[in-house]
């Protein structure tokens, strides 16, 4: 059981000429193994800043980041061990993979760097990870341009899982993908989460998938948490007017037509 806690997290960016911009204002948030927390809000609400601070790509201005109650390490070997525990899946699978390297290289690198398995076992581990994200083992020799967007994002997920993390931060993991494969990738994340007891922070602007793929929703507005709660409660019975505005602005044909849509849901599982 691993828990990452953000307490009173505040981030101020210095803006040339006009002083400071408060990107995060006293945010409390916790992610625990086996649970998915969705972080929703408009562009500029501070979602990605939280992801960057969790992965220590940015330093917080004040507040605390605690892993199982202890402050996270800031440099060196300790930081690397922390990052082995907390991995990130980025939004754009067209930018997050190196075009010069094969799929095998992308997945083997964290295995070697973090010495997850002995060198001789790397090939088997890569094959196992590919299988885990439902990719053919034969894809290992390919380069990113030979893969579809969905396949690339699966590679990115396999890479994130390679170091056997306890927590995964997924920043808009499907928004760059074609709509008919988005659910497939989200379902994959959900299954992996249950199989491995991963804790997931699902950052998104899409309220519908936030509702269906998370246990809890946290709504961020201008860097502040304005509402949080079990996902159905937040979407179906929002208390804060900003949450209500977000919900009402989202396309919702079921409300529009009063339900009864045709849909083939059998194909979208894989």
């Amino acid at each position: 059981m691993t828990t990452l806690e953000l307490r009173g997290l505040t981030k101020r960016y210095r803006v040339r000429g006009s002083g400071h911009m408060l990107a995060l204002d006293d945010v409390d948030l916790s992610i625990t193994s086996g649970r998915t927390v969705a972080l929703v809000g408009q562009s500029g609400s501070g979602k990605s800043t939280i992801a960057k601070i969790i992965t220590q790509l940015e330093r917080e201005t004040s507040g605390r980041v605690l892993l199982d109650g202890a402050p996270i390490p800031r440099r060196g070997r300790g930081l690397r061990a922390y990052r082995q525990q907390v991995r990130m899946v980025f939004q754009d699978p067209f930018a997050s993979l190196n075009p010069y390297h094969t799929v095998h290289h992308h997945i083997a690198r964290p295995l070697l760097l973090d010495r997850v398995v002995p060198r001789a076992g790397v090939d088997d581990e890569v094959a196992g990870l590919l299988e885990k994200v439902r990719l053919e083992p034969g894809l290992a020799a390919r380069r990113p341009h030979e893969l579809s967007g969905g396949q690339r994002q699966r590679v990115a997920i396999a890479r994130a899982l390679a170091s056997r993390p306890a927590l995964l931060v997924a920043d808009e993991p499907v928004s760059m993908l074609d709509v008919s494969i988005r659910l497939g990738v989200l379902n994959l994340l959900a299954e992996l989460q249950e199989a491995d007891g991963l804790g997931v922070l699902y950052i998104t602007h899409d309220l519908a998938t936030a509702r269906h793929f998370s246990d809890e929703i946290v709504v961020l507005h201008h860097g502040r948490v304005v509402e949080r709660g079990p996902s159905d409660d937040v979407i179906l019975h929002p208390r804060h007017e900003y949450t209500r505005a977000l919900r009402d602005a989202s396309p919702d044909p079921d409300r529009h037509f009063g339900g009864g849509r045709t849909a083939d849901t059998t194909g979208s599982r894989s």
Binding site: Q42, S43, D178, V179, S180, R182, L183, L186, N187, A190, E191, E194, H205, L207, A208, T209, R211, H212, F213, I235, L236, A245, L246, R247, D248, A249, S250, P251, D252, P253, D254, R255, H256, F257, G259, G260, R261, T262, A263, D264, T265, G267, S268, R269
Partner: protein
């Protein structure tokens, strides 16, 4: 509902003449009625943008129209008024484009020129298409256009970077409506915007449409959005229109497998949980 057609596309095919040739649009037939919103749904690579470009005759080699017609119908069936856009000379097409059929491009917020003011870019439309218009009138008209889309005439001297994404998108809409076209083609106009801004822009488009009476072809992969705003929806896949129907028909009684699959790709925001997504710990 029977409406007079504004545009009829029949048997249109577009091929990218590469090796091997790619048939991006295959034998597509569609009509857009007066004042209608036609949604064009499909995923990347289905040919929806190529179709839009073909209608506007904006395709560049190696893309080429290999068959079919794009007929722009005369107002009120005036005699001899129907024109097949595919047969026009480039000069004739230049006169007609933007004047009759205008377009808001994909990523429109980034298609403004960063080194020219908003006013200069709007004025360009009039210097090109209404050369007789005097400078004072031009400035006044551009100001009125910005007022119309809710940006405000005081922004004429602003540069694009001084406006938010939503405001830039409004400027692009103002530019597309400058000559009061009869048909507005919008290619993923709100994809890069977040939902609150998207909703504002959609309301703006719907208000302007009531005011000015133009027709809209709205292209996007966001089927839930189309279901809310369209009169009819055409679903495209691999260059073909696989199904056309009213929004209600598509929602309640989609016939084509692909349409059903697309509908099934969007979990319901407020309705029941589909069985395609995780149910607690039960999976």
């Amino acid at each position: 509902m029977n409406r007079d057609p504004v545009l009829s596309v029949s048997g249109l095919s577009v091929t990218y003449d590469v090796d091997p040739p790619v048939e991006a649009v295959r034998d597509v037939s569609l009509t857009v009625g007066q004042g209608e919103v036609l949604g064009l749904a499909g995923e990347s690579g289905c040919g929806k943008s190529t179709l839009a470009y073909a209608v506007q005759r904006l395709l560049r080699p190696p893309a080429e129209i290999t068959g079919g017609q794009v007929v722009l119908h005369a107002v009120d069936g005036a005699a001899g008024g129907d024109v097949d856009l595919t047969t026009l000379s480039p000069a004739e097409m230049d006169r007609l484009r933007w004047d009759q059929v205008a377009m808001v491009f994909q990523g429109a917020m980034n298609s403004l020129n960063p080194v020219l003011t908003i006013g200069a870019q709007l004025a360009d439309v009039f210097t090109r298409h209404r050369p007789a218009m005097g400078r004072a009138e031009r400035t006044a008209t551009c100001g009125a256009l910005l007022e119309m889309v809710g940006v405000g005439a005081d922004r004429l001297r602003s540069y694009p970077h001084e406006l938010s994404g939503g405001m830039r998108q409004r400027v692009m809409i103002a530019m597309a409506l400058a000559l009061r076209p009869r048909l507005l083609i919008m290619d993923e106009p709100t994809t890069a915007l977040d939902v609150l801004v998207q909703r504002e822009i959609l309301q703006e488009i719907s208000r302007l449409r009531e005011e000015l009476g133009f027709s809209v072809v709205f292209i996007t992969h966001d089927l839930p959005l189309l279901l809310e705003i369209s009169d009819r929806i055409a679903v495209m896949r691999a260059g073909r229109v696989v199904e056309v129907g009213t929004a209600s028909e598509i929602y309640h009684a989609a016939r084509h497998e692909y349409t059903k699959r697309l509908l099934g790709s969007f979990p319901s925001l407020t309705g029941d949980r589909g069985d395609f997504v995780r149910k607690g710990a039960a999976v």
